[in-house]
Amino acid sequence: MRLALPLALGLLLFVAVAAPAPAQEGGALLPRVVDEAAVPGVMAKAVDGFILPGYRNLAETTKALSEATAALCKAPSAASLEAARSAFSGVVQSWSAIEIIRLGPALEQNRFERFLFYPDRKSTGLKQVQAILAKGDESATQAETLKAKSVAVQGLGALEYALYGTGAETLSGKQGDFRCRYGLAISENLDTIAGELLAEWDKPDGIQAAWKQPGPGNPLFRDNKEAATELLGVLVHGVEMVKDQRLRPFYAGAVDGKRDPGHPRLAIYWRSVNTMPSVSTNFRALQKLFDTAGMESLLPADSRSIAGSINFLFKALINAADRINGPIDAALADERQRSTLDFIALNTADLTDRLNRDFGGAIGLGAGFSFADGD
């Protein structure tokens, strides 16, 4: 009987396709359908347990960064520079934990690119930052006027250069005054963006309401399937982001049988030695979203093992990312650490498949899950 079931369902599906039938009736005959009862709860947990705390944490760390940078400008010293740098790393961590939410308010007003412009392939952003510092462009020292400038000179990349790049040692003395005020404007800009993101998600009748109650009349999701698609999309695109936009820019793995020597100066946050801590936090964030939202509960009972495989891969990736310590140029020069990067690349590809095909298929999203996203 167990064996006969899928076949019978397949025949029913064929009938549903061949003969026009009302939407609900046809959908109910699919072998894998979205668990209508479970989705709203999962979406609510994603918002309350992951997204809101994530943005709250981001806003707290950007506030601390603004304060630490203001203190540095007011009383420059080796100690206050160290405090500002530490606050910067705090924002890198909190951003890496929430940047996987690339939708809604993050995509409005170019907030995402303004917060983090990366990778800067042709060093366009770096040159713009260097020009501001060389000319002493005062319009870059006010958050309000900085906001109107290139996205590359107002976010984490620009601030990292101010705090760690060539000439950053001047920050511990009076000769670093302009550089510090520019850094402060960036910090305040980041704090403003983080505040806007939190405010948008915090509105009880705003995007969080849309996430929690899919249905007709909802401005984002007409039904639970659309909502589940968006949520799983965060995970799939997040894993792809780490693979394609965080790791590949500085290490391409084996090409033509030869191992890429790597490009340490293209690595994200290389100056502040935050490259792999950020990647590790990206993976932790993805796993946290998966677990906190209770996405496993969307799986039919006979497919729960898929969640186990996904968590196994997350753990392996986090462990591997944590094993790569210290400056990224040293890691790239080390055969063993490059092997670890290969391991990460291989397993992110596997994880994408597990989420996209195995999990997406099992919870009733089918191949259509990732096929129809805007083409």
């Binding site: 549903a16 061949a18 026009p20 039938a21 990366y118 394609d244 936009q245 033509d256 805007g374």
Partner: protein, 390 residues
């Protein structure tokens, strides 16, 4: 990538012009192609290229091959297949990454499959079996958007591309007489071009500028949903000059114009995807002819709801004067009367994907493997090309 075996459905080894010692279209590869080879191998992986194996020809030339479409196999690999009028697979071949749009030239008997955006390759097949498939890779600073078409004489290939540093749409021009070397480009006069189609006389490209800004550094993320600039443009293929541009009105600024097809009378039909509020009821299909303003079809509310604010593909059946629309999000295929815009048929098709003119009406495929009434163990991609004139 896993090498398929014993599928019993004619997996054909590909013959690619990738090797420096290889001969392509009777000519030795030049330095440009060598660079292309490296970047292609880098993208596809040496294992994939090595797995191409034997030199059987992909059977596009078989007379029973009427359609072609890209697909994803159950093991997650990607390819292109040809199909009969009934939707049975004639032949198929592997591709290194997911393909999306396809085009065909009845003059040169060549077909092309474009990588999905932000794609970096396109593969051109000779349908008469006289030449090996050719891979082209995107130029530095450009990527493909997944669609294109051949010139009227079949010699040139036009591709929609992204000049992502400048955030402007471009049409890349590739010369079939020179192994599809890139010989030039001109603007699409808009942001985020997607599909385009050619007038019957070959003089004009009708381009759907979806209006959405993307950048490969941000993957597939849509970066300007709150300030989109969708438009439709007509561009002179001889000069690259803009003939006319139809920007969507401010109240439809979030209506992305994405796919186009052209009627026997030269009228351009376009299908849209709405990025605004999900509970809005925007117009999703429209048409215009040169010198005319855009006209939207006033679909019944029921049909608009059923299409889920997302027309995935559009096709014109020129003999029967019909327009076909599909929506994978709405699980529906809709047929319109091209003369009146009236809805003639709505058919529920789970995850309806591609649509192309059939002998009568339309052939519709689906993500879950249906192509007309025939089901194959693949997920069909969102577009079908008909391998014949008209």
């Amino acid at each position: 990538m896993a090498r398929p075996s014993s599928q019993g459905e004619g997996w054909a080894g590909l013959c690619l012009c990738l090797d420096s010692a290889d001969v392509c279209h009777g000519k030795r590869m030049n330095a440009k192609n060598l660079i292309d080879r490296r970047s292609f191998v880098k993208m596809a992986g040496a294992a994939w290229v090595a797995a191409l194996g034997s030199r059987g020809a992909f059977a596009l030339e078989r007379t029973d091959a009427v359609f072609a479409s890209a697909f994803m196999a159950p093991d997650g690999s990607y390819g292109v297949a040809t199909l009969t009028e009934e939707g049975e697979i004639v032949d198929r071949t592997l591709l290194p990454a997911r393909a999306h749009g396809m085009a065909f030239s009845p003059v040169s008997h060549r077909a092309v499959a474009f990588a999905r955006r932000p794609g970096t390759y396109a593969m051109i097949f000779a349908c008469d079996g006289t030449a090996k498939p050719v891979i082209i890779t995107a130029a530095e600073g450009r990527h493909f958007f997944g669609h294109g078409c051949f010139s009227a004489d079949g010699r040139l290939l036009y591709a929609t591309e992204n000049d992502f540093a400048a955030n402007r749409g471009m049409v890349g021009i590739y010369d079939g007489g020179q192994d599809f070397a890139r010989i030039g480009e001109f603007p699409t006069y808009g942001i985020g071009p997607h599909d385009m189609t050619l007038s019957a006389d070959g003089s004009t490209l009708a381009i759907a500028n979806g209006g959405i800004e993307t950048h490969p550094d941000f993957g597939r993320a849509k970066l300007n949903l709150d300030h989109m600039e969708p438009s439709l443009t007509l561009v002179d293929t001889a000069t690259g000059a803009l003939i006319e541009k139809h920007a969507l009105p401010p109240d439809l600024r979030q209506l992305s114009t994405r796919h186009v097809d052209i009627g026997a009378d030269g009228r351009i039909w376009f299908g849209c995807q709405y990025e605004g509020a999900r509970d809005d009821l925007p117009p999703l299909v429209g048409h215009f002819a040169k010198g005319e303003a855009l006209a939207f079809v006033a679909l019944p509310e029921r049909t608009t709801l059923a299409l889920a604010n997302y027309v995935g593909a559009i096709a014109v059946n020129r003999h029967e004067e019909l327009v076909g629309l599909t929506s994978p999000k709405g699980n529906i295929a809709v047929t319109l009367d091209a003369r009146t815009g009236r809805v003639l048929k709505e058919e529920r098709i789970v995850e309806a994907a591609g649509v192309a003119a059939a002998e009568h009406g339309f052939a519709v495929s689906s993500y879950d493997g249906y192509f007309k009434q025939h089901r194959s163990p693949v997920a069909w991609d969102q577009h079908i090309v008909r391998l014949s004139a008209g």
